[in-house]
C-alpha cells in the first residue's frame, strides 16, 4: 500500500520535471556509461599492450598483472549501465531501481578509495604514484569526471525521492482521482 502511494508520489514528481531536465539526465546517464565503457576498454587494451611490450623485452622473464583497477571499472560500468537502462523511461519504480544501481556505483568508488589508502599504507609510501587522480590508485582524471557525473545523477534521484516523500499525504486521500465520494461533515 505504502509502495503504491510512494510510487504515485514519485510519478507526480517525475511529471513535474521539465523536458530539458529529462533530456539532460538521460544525456548524463548515457555519457557517464559510455565514458566508463571507454575506460574499461582502455584497460583491456593496456593489458594487451603490456604483454606485447613484455615479448619485446628480451631480459624480462615475467610480469605479474594486477587487474584490480580493471575490475573496479567493470563493476562501475555494469551498475551504470543498469542505472541508465532503468532511468531512461523515467518511471517511478524504475527510478528506485536506478537509484539502487547508483548506490552500488558509490560503494564501488568508496571501495576503490579505501583500497588505494590500504595500498599506500602497505607499500609504506606517502603518495601514490601517477596515475592516481583524487587519491584513487590507477585512476585518471576521466575517472574523477565519471565520479562527479554519477554523484550528480545520484543527487538528482534523491531530490525526486525526497520531494515525493515530502509531498503532503493528500495523494493518499486523493479522492477526486480515486473516485470515492467526499464526506461532508457539516
Amino acid at each position: 500500500m505504502y509502495l503504491r502511494d510512494l510510487t504515485s508520489r514519485i510519478t507526480a514528481g517525475l511529471d513535474s520535471v521539465g523536458s530539458l531536465e529529462r533530456d539532460l539526465i538521460r544525456v548524463l546517464a548515457v555519457a557517464v556509461t559510455a565514458l566508463n565503457a571507454s575506460l574499461y576498454i582502455a584497460d583491456l587494451v593496456q593489458e594487451q599492450q603490456l604483454y606485447k611490450l613484455l615479448s619485446e623485452y628480451d631480459w624480462v622473464w615475467s610480469v605479474a598483472y594486477n587487474p584490480t583497477v580493471q575490475h573496479f571499472h567493470l563493476r562501475i560500468l555494469a551498475a551504470l549501465l543498469f542505472s541508465t537502462i532503468f532511468i531512461w523511461s523515467l518511471k517511478a519504480r524504475r527510478l528506485i531501481i536506478s537509484l539502487l544501481a547508483l548506490q552500488i556505483v558509490g560503494i564501488e568508488y568508496l571501495k576503490w578509495y579505501l583500497d588505494s589508502v590500504s595500498t599506500k599504507e602497505n607499500a609504506g609510501i606517502e603518495r601514490l604514484p601517477e596515475p592516481s587522480a583524487a587519491g584513487f590508485y590507477g585512476a585518471s582524471n576521466w575517472d574523477v569526471v565519471s565520479l562527479v557525473i554519477a554523484a550528480l545523477l545520484f543527487i538528482w534521484h534523491l531530490k525526486i525521492l525526497i520531494q515525493a516523500l515530502r509531498t503532503p499525504a493528500s495523494g493518499r486521500g486523493n479522492n477526486a482521482i480515486s473516485g470515492a465520494p467526499e464526506i461532508n461533515t457539516t
Binding site: L50, W59, T68, D115, G138
Partner: protein
C-alpha cells in the same frame, strides 16, 4: 620516490643482516618497512616455511640455494627513475629505459622479473635475477581483499619461481599455469592461496 632495495647472498638464517641498500633522502620509516617486507614475506612466508621450500623443490628450485648462492635483488620499480649511476642501480641503460617505459604506461603491472640472457642485450650489471615490485603489488584487493602482506607473498611466489629459472608463458595472465599442480602447491604453501 623510494630507492630501497634488498639484495643478498648469504645464509638464510642471517638474512636480516644482508646488505641493505638505502640511498640519501630515504626515511627511517621506509627502511623499517622494507625490513618488515623481507622478514614477513621472505623469511616467514618462504624460507622458514618447510612446506614452501618443499613446494619449490617440487618445481625444481632450491629456494635456499637461490637466495644463498645465486643471489637475488628485490626492488621497488620507482628505482628505475632514480639518477644514481647504472652500477649503483645494477641496471644498464637499456634495463633502466625498458623498466621506465613499462612502469610509466602500466600501473597495473605488479611485478617484473628478469635478468641477462646470453646473446641478448644486458639489462642488469651484476647478472643475478632481479624482481621489481610496483605499488600495485601491495594492493590488498589483488587477491580478493586480503592483507597487503599476503598480497605481496602472492606476488612474490610466482616471481621467485621465475627468478629460479623458469620463464613464463607470455601469452597468459597466469603465466605459470602450465606447471599445473606443482604451481598450485607453491601458491598454497607459500602464499596461502588455494
Amino acid at each position: 620516490m623510494q630507492y630501497y632495495s634488498f639484495r643478498g647472498r648469504g645464509y638464510p638464517g642471517r638474512l636480516q643482516s644482508w646488505n641493505w641498500y638505502g640511498y640519501s633522502g630515504d626515511s627511517l620509516a621506509m627502511g623499517l618497512f622494507w625490513k618488515k617486507l623481507v622478514r614477513v614475506s621472505l623469511l616467514d612466508g618462504f624460507l622458514n616455511n618447510p612446506d614452501c621450500l618443499s613446494a619449490f623443490r617440487g618445481v625444481g628450485i632450491d629456494l635456499e640455494d637461490l637466495l644463498t648462492n645465486t643471489g637475488l635483488v628485490i626492488r621497488l620499480i620507482d628505482l628505475a627513475f632514480s639518477t644514481y649511476s647504472n652500477n649503483a642501480l645494477t641496471l644498464t641503460s637499456y634495463g633502466q629505459q625498458t623498466l621506465q617505459t613499462a612502469y610509466r604506461d602500466h600501473a597495473s603491472a605488479a611485478a617484473f622479473t628478469g635478468t641477462n640472457f646470453i646473446g641478448h642485450r644486458p639489462a642488469v650489471t651484476d647478472g643475478i635475477p632481479h624482481i621489481f615490485l610496483n605499488t600495485s603489488a601491495f594492493n590488498p584487493s589483488y587477491v580478493g581483499g586480503r592483507t597487503g602482506e599476503e598480497a605481496l607473498r602472492i606476488t612474490l611466489a610466482p616471481e621467485l619461481i621465475h627468478a629460479g629459472g623458469i620463464p613464463g608463458d607470455h601469452t597468459k595472465t597466469e603465466d605459470l599455469r602450465d606447471l599445473g599442480e606443482r604451481y598450485t602447491d607453491v601458491m598454497k604453501s607459500c602464499a596461502g592461496r588455494t
